[in-house]
């Protein structure tokens, strides 16, 4: 087990004038509404425990009022917790003094905001360089570095515009560039794409995924949109009323919701778009590994199926039918299996989303072979499994 980069341990947040006095009630499990009625204190977060690994996109999702924005603000202590620890890279953020906290915010974490949080009185390039300005970097280096990021997010030529002159999508690109410009290894994104039009939003999601493939940052992403969560997340945590309801890989949450709440949540999700082949496929079977036609026939008979996937040390080679093999065996059973014998059956990659392989799967009469980047057979996808997952 690797050590997580960020570890949230027993985090509680109570809003009100005297939060400490309310803590015993919270810990006794008194409902949120009763505590509010009795003491006037609002329970924001209750016993949150999370581990976030390096290089992940970790999505925290929940509806409004679930405490997700409160939670993300604890990571860089924009909000002080009532109780609990936040360990980043072995260091307890709660123990930091004012100076230490400022250094931590400057160098370790950067943040992207829902309504962008750009400085209206600074130009685009000055906004991107803001983190560096705070760090005290000189003007020339700052401009050079900010210029690079401006180009990466595709806003070259907008250097000297003011944020109000840009569209929402462009403004958020500036927000993203500002966050990346400080080279912090942790990126906090608070509903970063929620204020954007659907089309622009999915464009931004693509761009984020693309950037992440190059940069391998650790991203904590807040959203209320499950489709977005499933699309971006390596792992997803679901919050409800300040409590963690379920935490796991996206497919896990989709296929095995822990509570009725999560189930209601995932019900309307377009599974064909959210799930990949990998999560649905059957483990590899019916593998033919022998060299000659006769031996292959022999092996095929042990499967009780009339087909097989021919694999060698070099990986998956092709799809074989019993009838073809029998034909060929009549001529010369000792001949090696060769290209000409394979059936015309497409193979699919494990990380394609189901939506894309539906046509192939429907046309084929046999389970499609799933082949990874290295050419190895990872499994197969029968039409029945696909239908089962999509109709469920």
């Amino acid at each position: 087990m690797t050590v997580p980069l960020i570890s949230i341990q027993g985090l509680y947040k109570v809003f009100g004038t005297k939060p400490k006095t309310v803590m015993p009630m919270v810990k006794d499990g008194m409902p949120k509404d009763d505590i509010l009625a009795k003491t006037g204190h609002t329970v924001g977060l209750k016993d949150i425990n999370l581990d976030i690994n390096k290089g992940q996109i970790y999505v925290i999702m929940g509806l409004s009022g679930s405490g997700k924005s409160t939670l993300i603000r604890h990571l860089n202590r924009l909000i002080e917790p009532t109780e609990g620890k936040i360990i980043v890279d072995g260091e307890d953020v709660m123990e930091l003094g004012q100076k230490g906290l400022e250094q931590f915010r400057r160098n370790r974490m950067s943040m992207v905001f829902q309504r962008f949080g750009l400085m209206p009185h600074r130009t685009v390039i000055e906004n991107i360089a803001y983190g560096l300005t705070v760090q005290g970097m000189n003007k020339v280096d700052r401009a050079a570095k900010a210029g690079e990021w401006l180009e990466i997010v595709g806003l070259s030529g907008y250097e000297n515009q003011y944020p109000s002159q840009l569209s929402g999508g462009q403004q958020q690109r500036v927000g993203l560039a500002r966050a990346l410009c400080t080279d912090a290894d942790i990126l906090l994104m608070d509903e970063a794409f929620s204020a954007l039009d659907p089309l622009i939003r999915s464009e931004m999601q693509d761009q984020l995924i693309e950037l992440q493939e190059k940069l391998h940052k650790t991203i904590v992403f807040i959203t209320h949109d499950l489709d977005e969560a499933l699309r971006l997340g390596d792992r997803i945590a679901i919050l409800k009323d300040g409590e963690l309801v379920q935490e796991g890989a996206p497919a896990d949450i989709l296929l095995h919701p822990a509570t009725a709440y999560v189930e209601a949540f995932v019900k309307d999700v377009n599974r064909a778009r959210a799930l990949t082949v990998e999560t649905v496929m059957k483990p590899p079977a019916h593998r033919i590994t022998t060299g000659t036609i006769a031996e292959a026939l022999q092996q095929m008979k042990t499967f009780s199926k009339d087909y097989g996937y021919y694999c060698t040390d070099d990986g998956y080679q092709g799809f074989l039918l019993q009838t073809t093999l029998e034909e060929a065996a009549k001529k010369d059973g000792d001949k090696a299996i060769e290209q000409g014998l394979f059936e015309d059956l497409p193979h699919i990659s494990p990380d394609t989303v189901l939506e894309e392989i539906i046509p192939e799967s429907m046309e084929a009469n046999y389970p499609l072979p799933v082949v990874d980047e290295d050419g190895d057979l990872q499994g197969n996808l029968p039409r029945s499994s696909l239908a089962e997952v999509l109709t469920n």
Binding site: M109, F116, G117, M119, P120, H121, G131, V134, S164
Partner: protein, 297 residues
């Protein structure tokens, strides 16, 4: 009968007791001004010297240099040829009607009062915006400063410092400073929370937040406060002239007591002209610092 008396007549304090209080307070203040008056006057000495120097500068410089300087300030702040020509005409008329020297005196004192108000008011406004306690202490003081009749606080100032320029400046500043304090406080409190949060999230310390985010974003509101402060300072010119401040106020005062309608009108119009110049210039300058607010599409 005596029991029911308090129902019809307010149960007042005994006249003699009141006299004791008044005598006591007056005596104590007189004592105070007698023993500390000179020290306090000494403290204001640099201010007085600056006032005299600045007034002399404006009065003794050739009129065409002054007009050229004012017009170039107006033009560089507003970039408006029309306004600049208007100012030029106004000052030429002021000079032609023989009010040049008084106008220069008034301008010098208004300028000094405005600078003092800004120098004191903005820091106080910043402090107020940072703590609610500070706000709840300062707000009633500002209320008193704005509603207390100016003559009332002129009395102790004159008792302490005599009549002249310095008490005049103090009276004007007391009357004119509240808007700049109030609007600095308001402007900073109205700064978009998310922008401020963004600055904090990137590790800005409180100085960086104040100078880099809060003050620049509050600037339009602060400029409105400064503008109001200037207008109120001009409104005090006549009252200040009662305690010996020379300028456009004195002829106005003279025309009240002697019923010189035309003299009063001319000097009044000169004050209005000054007010318009100060107002337009400060507003145009405030707007020009906000050019990022214009939308391109």
């Amino acid at each position: 009968m005596s029991e029911a008396n308090w129902l019809t007549k307010f149960p007042e304090m005994e006249r003699s007791d009141l006299l004791v209080i008044r005598k006591g307070l007056d005596g104590a203040y007189k004592e105070f001004s007698r023993s500390y008056g000179e020290i306090i006057e000494g403290l204001f000495d640099p201010l007085l010297r600056f006032l005299v120097w600045f007034e002399k500068l404006l009065v003794t410089s050739p009129w065409w240099i002054i007009i050229a300087v004012i017009c170039s300030i107006v033009y560089s702040a507003t970039r408006s040829v029309k306004l600049t020509i208007g100012v030029l005409i106004a000052f030429v008329l002021i000079g032609y009607f023989g009010m040049w020297e008084n106008t220069m005196r008034t301008m010098s004192i208004i300028f000094v009062c405005t600078m003092l108000s800004i120098a004191i008011g903005i820091p106080v406004g910043i402090l107020m915006s940072r703590s609610n306690r500070m706000q709840s202490i300062v707000t009633p003081i500002l209320d008193i400063m704005q509603t207390m009749p100016a003559f009332v606080y002129l009395i102790p100032v004159v008792m302490l410092l005599g009549i002249g320029k310095v008490p005049g400046v103090i009276a004007v500043v007391i009357y004119a400073i509240p808007p700049v304090i109030r609007l600095t406080n308001l402007g900073i409190r109205l700064v978009d929370k998310e922008v401020l949060e963004a600055a904090t999230a990137y590790g800005a310390n409180s100085t960086q937040r104040l100078l880099g985010v809060q003050l620049p974003l509050a600037l339009p509101t602060i400029m409105a406060g400064i503008n109001q402060t200037i207008m109120m300072a001009l409104a005090m010119v006549v009252i200040a002239s009662m305690i010996g401040v020379k300028g456009l106020g004195q002829p106005v005062l003279k025309s009240i007591t002697n019923q010189y309608f035309t003299l009063g009108l001319f000097n009044g119009l000169a004050i209005v002209a000054l007010a318009i110049v100060f107002d337009r210039v400060s507003q145009a300058y405030g707007k020009r610092t906000q050019k990022h607010m214009e939308r391109a599409h």
